[in-house]
């Protein structure tokens, strides 16, 4: 199921991406980032392809995909809302905002709405700690977050 803004899965395209990065020293991470940028997630069939190209075991590549929080193995919702959950944002009440967002969207942190519209996730520090609480919405940084901002975001995501 292709997600808005991402390319549909194609083994040929994945091969191209892998080939264009394989010359890099320690290429696994740059390849995975590029794959996720193209498809929105790291599809399972990519793992053996990377392993073969870089002369690694499948287990090693699978280990990398699952170790890092950024890499997804399932497509995300059409909008991704990441709310900062680290201490500076906690000091400014991010927990209340997270509860509010969960209630508004009817999902828990880490989940996607059943209609595939919104994925809600925690993130640990965007470096906006002096303008807390903060969020990253579809790659856009938001500081001084409040309930109104979340209402706007949810409304925006509904479109």
């Amino acid at each position: 199921m292709p997600t808005a803004g991402y390319e549909p899965w194609s083994a040929e395209r994945a091969s191209q991406i892998i080939a264009s990065h394989q010359h890099m020293a320690g290429a696994t991470m740059p390849i995975l980032h590029a794959i996720q940028e193209a498809f929105g997630f790291v599809p399972d069939p990519v793992v053996p392809m990377i392993a073969e190209t870089l002369n690694l075991s499948r287990a090693e590549v699978y280990g990398v995909v699952t170790f890092y929080h950024d890499f997804r193995r399932e497509p995300p919702g059409r909008h991704v809302i990441k709310l900062c959950a680290a201490e500076a944002c906690q000091a400014m009440g991010c927990q209340g905002l997270a509860d509010y967002a969960e209630e508004k969207l009817g999902i828990q942190m880490g989940e996607t709405t059943p209609d595939g519209r919104v994925t809600l996730e925690p993130i640990y520090c965007l470096g906006l700690c002096a303008c807390a609480p903060s969020a990253l919405i579809d790659g856009r940084l938001v500081g001084r977050l409040d309930r109104d901002t979340i209402d706007e975001l949810v409304a925006e995501a509904g479109r």
Binding site: A25, G26, D70, A88, M92, C129, C131, G139, G143
Partner: protein, 520 residues
């Protein structure tokens, strides 16, 4: 006729508070009027309560307006902002703002002042003077200069930079590396981010000098993925430096070669630990390595590697330009030079404050930071990130110094200070520290991997009031095991926030206050 110049920061925090919209609103307003105005997207000065801070160049100096919203733009222009006219948002001459004026900016001297991607601007503000002098000194003397400066690692442990460099310089190898640790994952810290976005050439220059000093020809900047704007700015700066012959073969016409590459992390906090970072750069899971061997001897791809925090490397140009002794003259005790302290969380004037070591914690939080943003009393501050101790107000006389903090069982770490008001529940914060460790553990060593999960469970029992005294004893014992038995700082330092919260705020854990004097 000279064109008026205004500055609208392209700093992630300023952008998060609407700087892009402000810049567009100005561009539209000027286009509608047919006025020629040069809009420079500078970095931030680090005065975040004023962001977006728009500055206009006037004969008297740069006049600031902030925090500016896109809807303020027409009003500002009508009031005569381009001539530096008064307006409710006017903060006067930016250089004269006390928050900025009280600072000693050595590492962050150019931040917010220059166009981050203009080499001309960079050179006009002493840029590449450090490299010029380094080229006349030669490798051995560069290392000595850095050693003399007393510069210590700004990432956490505070290890002397000069000693690291000496070790790598003395090691024979066909390839050596310089790795810049820009995996600034501590909550409350944003110094790396700010400098990457405000003065990227400074990092490139520092790494180049490091490369010449130890004989490394290749460098990597490993930046966390949570900083997309920083990565973009750094990549552009690297390309510009390469184009100008300041990276690549025969840098700046010398006989030295040095090139740089940006690499992005993928949301793993543990990759801020130097050996986990190296594994990640090699394309593996970010698992901590046992030391020895030191990265200085066997680092990236098994080769001798200087791995320094970004702030350490960004401080190298000013040390080379002005001399190790100049830098050493700032600070106190064995903490030499200046430290970019980051005031964050529930604080009125949150931002970056670079000053010589020795300033007291209370001065930072109350005098400079203006107390809490909520207006309620301060209860605790966490210094040094998620693995740093919580300090109560009774310890506000502690000077900002590696040894003075260590004496209070606290850490300076990367210089972050997160302020909490009296509504914070310290048992919850202690639980969060354990939960964070469980979430982020690389899994290699048992005390960290299992201890953190058991820590969460034990704290849950304490919070629920189950066999409180017995569980507090278990928690204390567990913390001791993690502290002594963990392979790296993640497991080893998680006890700091937990034990400090318990020691200073026992009432939050349902325990009787042990120190009535400390409760004031």
């Amino acid at each position: 006729m000279s064109v008026v110049r205004i500055y609208v920061p392209n700093d992630a925090a300023a952008v998060a508070c609407g700087a892009d919209r402000v810049a567009h609103a100005f561009a539209d307003a000027f286009a509608a009027r047919g006025t020629l105005v040069d809009i420079v997207r500078n970095g931030s000065r680090g005065l975040f309560w004023l962001e977006p801070l728009v500055e206009v160049e006037t004969p008297a100096g740069r006049v600031g307006y902030g925090p500016v919203k896109a809807s303020d733009v027409e009003g500002l222009l009508a009031a005569g902002m381009l001539d530096g006219a008064p307006h409710p948002l006017c903060v006067g001459l930016v250089e004269e703002i006390p928050y900025l004026k009280r600072q000693t900016r050595l590492t962050f001297a150019r931040c917010g002042i220059i166009d981050p991607l203009s080499l001309t601007d960079y050179r006009a503000h002493s840029g590449y003077k450090g490299l010029e002098r380094a080229l006349t000194l030669g490798p051995a003397a560069i290392v000595e200069e850095v050693f003399q400066s007393g510069l210590r690692g700004r990432g956490g442990a505070g290890f002397p930079t000069g000693i690291k460099w000496r070790t790598v310089a003395a090691t024979q190898a066909d390839q050596k590396y310089i790795v810049c640790n820009a995996d600034e994952g501590d909550s409350g810290t944003f110094a790396d981010r700010l400098i990457m976005e405000a003065d990227p050439f400074c990092i490139i220059e520092g790494m180049t000098i490091a490369g010449i000093a130890v004989g490394a020809t290749k460098g990597y900047v490993y930046c966390r993925s949570e900083y997309p704007l920083s990565i973009l700015v750094m990549e552009k700066a690297i390309a510009k430096a390469r184009q100008a012959g300041l990276l690549g073969k025969n840098i700046a016409g010398s006989s030295y070669d040095f090139d740089l590459e940006m690499r992005m992390g993928a949301g793993a906090y543990v990759c801020g630990e130097e050996t986990a970072l190296l594994d990640s750069l090699e394309g593996k899971r970010g698992v901590v390595r046992a030391k020895p061997p030191l990265p200085a001897l066997k680092g990236l791809f098994g080769k001798p590697t200087v791995i320094n925090n970004l702030i350490s490397l960004a401080t190298v140009p000013v040390i080379l330009e002005k001399g190790g002794n100049f830098y050493r003259d700032f600070g106190m005790g064995r903490s030499r030079g200046t430290m970019p302290i980051q005031l964050a969380g529930n604080i009125k004037y949150g931002g970056l404050f670079e000053t010589a070591f020795g300033i007291s914690l209370g001065e930072l939080v109350n005098d400079i930071g203006g107390g809490t943003a909520s207006g309620r009393p301060v209860k605790a501050v966490q210094a040094g990130g998620p693995l740093g101790a919580y300090l109560p107000v009774s310890q506000f006389d502690t000077p900002f110094d590696y040894e003075a903090f260590a004496a209070k069982d606290a850490l300076i770490g990367h210089g972050g200070i997160v302020v909490f008001d009296d509504t914070v529940d310290m048992a919850h914060m202690a639980r969060f520290a354990m939960e964070f460790c469980a979430h982020e553990s690389c899994g290699k060593c048992t005390p960290c991997r299992i201890g953190s999960t058991r820590g969460v469970e034990t704290l849950d029992k304490i919070i629920a009031g189950q066999r409180r005294e017995a569980n507090l004893a278990i928690l204390t014992d567990l913390c001791q095991t993690m502290k002594l038995g963990s392979l790296c700082a993640l497991g080893g330092f998680t006890p700091y926030p937990v034990i400090s919260a318990l020691t200073h705020f026992p009432e939050d854990f349902g325990a009787a206050p042990k120190l009535p004097a400390a409760a004031e």
